[in-house]
Symmetry: D2
Subunit: 385 residues, 4 copies
């Protein structure tokens, strides 16, 4: 099967998955933007489509007619090189186009892409399409986060349905040990990776140990019950300000009802399950937990060097590594150069993958990144020492 | 026809009108809250229904079963006596219940009310129902404002349809003169009125003149073209700060495109019609216009004393009267006492009515009130001297 | 004694008083601006001086040489017609010029003014000088408020010294009654008054009663102890938001220490004296108190019509009258027209005078005005019914 | 000379230097806090004194009587373990104690310390004193920054006097090359260092080149003139937002007057000298400049590995290294553990030293750190490739 065929199959699988994630939603759920970080599902549907239209069809498909001249303005996210756009905080105000018209847009672009791919394109273009698929996969994960946030903030705590929930953690506990020495970090570039995983380079690590499994809700409850949220010595100064300013006393989605802890899940409000990994914690909380345990968080290099021996994939894991360019990092020219590089400041790297990560979208060199205060992502805690 | 029958007819007419105002909307349009002042149409539908459920059916209808126990929390507006509620800025986050469930709620309460009214209730209860109808009529007008704001802020400027547009102004111009003397102001209490229209009382007025017609777009364009938005001497200090902070240079919904002024109307983006009354101006703009003309705005007393000779009803008219209690004002006990009195500070009275005011909902003693910076209401300018 | 001589004497008395109010200050106390409303004492010293320089000496004194070309920029308050200026929130950042240079500025302008007045000026100019003296008297009162705020917010609660404290209230209690009828309100223009006191006009009042004396700390303590600060039914909606957002549970400067109420006075921290009038309350608190008592606040017209029978002069008294133009109000041309008129929105009128009001600066037609949330002024409560 | 004697000499030299930095100030200059980052000079004088009182004298000096019981509250900076304190944004409101009383406090503590040191203390205590001296040296540098900010924001641009200005840059240009390999980074702990410089550890670096000298004003002017402040492709997303939100178009203290660039220096407003290093740039600007040059900023490891061949010491140099713990980092127990570790998030490391750094306070392992948007520090740009 040649690359065109393979990509066509991946492309269609990806497009279908996006739509099936939205399956359980009411039309009304596609609209709100409860916080700036959380985009309306409708916007994700349109934006991932616009990406293919703007960077593939408009550039390379002869005679392609854009679906609607206003949609670039509505569905561009942050590509300055691609022109003006709706300001991010205003995405939730755009009731129009209605969902059904966005679905028409999706179908139109999907069909155009399939036709375009049937013409056997050159590798340079296929690379962009492969990036577009990975881009949509990233938005699939964000879509899950954002749907959870939208539903989880309804006073009625509606049920979404099955899927995207963590399972009981590892049966095997304990730590993996790595000896001091040089480790090779980053992607080799032979298969798809983002620019931020390059260049592959050597990192010298001191001897360290890293936990095989993630911290559970049960362990985190002990942390809460020990009074950790009121002990400033456990917290970064910014973290201490953050939890006090926001009144945070537990992970996101946790509610104390009649003295018991419940949390919102896709199945509705449930009692906190002490056996599954703790989820929806900020970097500040992860670090405070590690401090309380007398341990620390791993760096992203320590994580990658030990990844093969670890149980991972349920939750993204906060590392104590700032999101910065690897030596030899180079961004692409033009709009696609805005994909990663311009965010390399004041964010922390997370490694691994989560139950919301699409099947073909994880690898041990993958660098996810969020601000230290973010809690709506599917984040968890792994300890090191 | 006895009062029960009459109210039943009014009630049903009112309930239908609310729904027909929403007729042209997409489901998605029911959800957003683009600014705090603008509530989602879905919220208006639910809130006006909750009013009848909370203040009539739950109080007086034996065996009434509430539709949904969470709806009081979702649809209470500002009645502290009626318990906790969704914070006003968060109304746009509530994608649930979906519109169709709110419509079910409406039907359930409408039917229950009709049944309740068929049992010939006593006057004290009928008074509350009459208040409820007037309350829903007020929300009908707000619904029109809010729909216009939601649609008018879509980058695609969608068409709503016919209705709610001002017509060409008066053929008759000039001023009505009133002699100095005592005038009777306020409602006599013999037919329905709000508590803020009472008590009827004497006000002494000096001789004055008041314009028969409203200021037109054409006249307002001259004001703009004279540089009025950059001449601080025309403005109140707060008004000057307001237009500079917000970058205001024309009424709301006006857009300068290729050197020409267009404005958003329910028929979409249209060239500004110089013959219709200027609309969507703040009190600050109205007062600056009057200053520029070498005149002033009338007080609410001057308006009422001359109302019979005036052409009014297209737009609410800003007066230079603060919204304060009349002598002898007394608020009702309990939650309904929160209806008007607690807003009597830092707002200005508007008199008249607008094209969005329901048919049976205007009278010359009616006191509407908004903050001086409000522009999304259907406001206009009448001059005095 | 002709008007020139009289004004010279008044002018010098006024200039001296300003400086003696600052007598007890440390140099450092002249600098801070703890909230936007509170200006640094140094700024008041400069601003009142600049007023005479800009509106008298520069306009009319032949050969007058301005003291420093930057001072207009530093010491203009809000006169747009007089050019650019330091933004109000930045007054506390201006450590330069040092206090001694501002004192030199004062001396230079005072001397120039005395010389100028010795030349027997025409009435039009003397009117401006009289306005300038009244202007400085207003700032003397603000100076007292601002000094109290600056010192009262030091963790060390320093002592200022004698003066500016309320005395035990009236020995005579009870209410004055006024019959319904027309009353003449406003100044007759025969002696000095502000433009906002004109024109004198008729106001029709219904029969009313107004308390002879102000509410005391003792009465206010009962209000607090009754739980009034947690009973939403007593408050305007904006007032309820205000006290909750700011965490207000007592008048400004009150501190609960070991279960007892203390308040900051110019003599330092003292136990609250139940016999003196309650001070430093917002309009919201005054109105809630009246509501709690089953009474109301007077209008400014009711106050003025009964003023001669009332004990007043210790504290400015909140009225339930918005600060709006009287019929026939006309502002002066040019910069001095900005004195009063442009503030006639969203403020409430206070009547009377306070222990911080300079001797020659009170009359029964005087209209003071502040925002409803202001508490640092010397405000009190008088009831009506 | 034993360690007690040496430290006494260092201590006295340090205390004197702090006071001599304040020599040219007016009393008024000691008070303002124009932005949260900038503390009043008076506060620095008190805080550095409190450090010795709280961590040395109160802990170890028998019979020591604290100077004033309120001063801990006034002069604690961020040590939660040392109790409550004035909130940082409120430092500029504290006009009391007056400067002369703070000077008395300094003298009292200085004398007590000298007496205490004359008693030959043990090493554990001398370590804290050495930390206190280094702490005061850090504040000396901040004092210079803050004085420049306070004076540089006076509309009158007052002259401070000689000192703290950069000289014409290197005569020698070009780049130093370093081969790939393992480099030892961090302090060996044999002489004084901060905890954040430990543990010494190996870092693997790829081959790189680093400029011998800093970027000059002349080079930076070319960057400005090329339109760099309007070319989004050069900027991090946060940097682009930052310069647009704040309206930044040049380094801090630069003013364009009649088409020419001037900048505020301690000698007053001066024409920009193209030969001296560019100063007062944020990390965002430094990185955009590097991008524009087709180069990059060094990491802190690259800087340290080449430090001996570089000309440094005029300005702190932004590195593209986040401020994070070194492997093996351990914080001290108690309040002194709050010194460094709790700030290790969302800040960037700067290396080198500046003309405001005290003589004995620089070394090649020193890690300074500021937020990426900071511009009031003495920062400059060194390129790498």
């Amino acid at each position: 099967m040649n690359r065109n065929h393979k990509l066509t199959a991946l492309f269609l699988k990806c497009r279908n998955l996006t739509e099936s994630i939205c399956g359980p939603l009411e039309v009304e759920d596609y609209v709100p933007q409860p916080i700036v970080d959380v985009s309306p599902p409708k916007w994700h549907l349109g934006h991932t489509t616009w990406f293919f239209e703007a960077f593939v069809l408009q550039q390379f498909a002869k005679g392609y007619k854009i679906f609607h001249e206003d949609f670039a303005y509505l569905f561009n996210s942050y590509y300055n090189n691609a022109g003006e756009r709706v300001l991010r905080p205003n995405r939730g105000l755009m009731s129009r186009p209605p969902v059904r018209e966005v679905m028409d847009y999706r179908k139109y672009v999907t069909d155009s892409m399939v036709k375009f791919l049937s013409l056997n394109q050159e590798d340079k273009i296929l690379d962009i399409i492969e990036l577009g698929i990975n881009h949509e996969q990233q938005h699939q994960e964000l879509l899950v986060y954002d749907i959870k946030y939208i539903l989880g903030n309804q006073p009625t705590f509606p049920v979404y349905g099955e899927g995207f929930e963590c399972k009981k953690g590892a049966t095997e506990n304990g730590f993996v040990k790595r000896a001091a020495g040089l480790y090779s970090i980053g992607a080799d570039g032979k298969s798809f990776c983002y620019d931020n995983e390059l260049a592959q380079h050597q990192v010298y690590l001191r001897e360290y140990q890293i936990s095989k499994s993630l911290v559970t809700n049960g362990e985190y409850l002990e942390f809460i019950q020990s009074g950790a949220y009121t002990d400033f010595n456990l917290w970064l100064a910014e973290g201490w300000d953050f939890i006090n300013r926001e009144g945070i006393q537990a992970p996101l989605y946790w509610h104390k009802i009649n003295g018991e802890w419940w949390n919102y899940t896709f199945k509705g409000l449930q009692k906190v399950d002490v056996n599954v990994p703790v989820q929806h914690v900020s970097f500040y909380e992860a670090l405070a937990f590690a401090e309380w345990k007398g341990m620390r968080l791993p760096t992203e290099f320590e994580w990658e060097a030990a990844a093969e021996d670890l149980q991972w994939g349920q939750l993204w894991e906060w590392t104590y590594s700032a999101y910065q360019p690897y030596p030899g990092f180079a961004k692409a020219p033009g709009a696609l150069g805005e994909y990663n590089g311009k965010f390399m400041i004041n964010q922390n790297v997370l490694r691994g993958a989560s139950v919301a990560t699409p099947q073909d979208h994880s690898r041990i060199t993958y660098r996810n990144f969020f601000h230290a205060a973010s809690r709506w992502l599917f984040s968890g805690i792994r300890l090191a020492k």
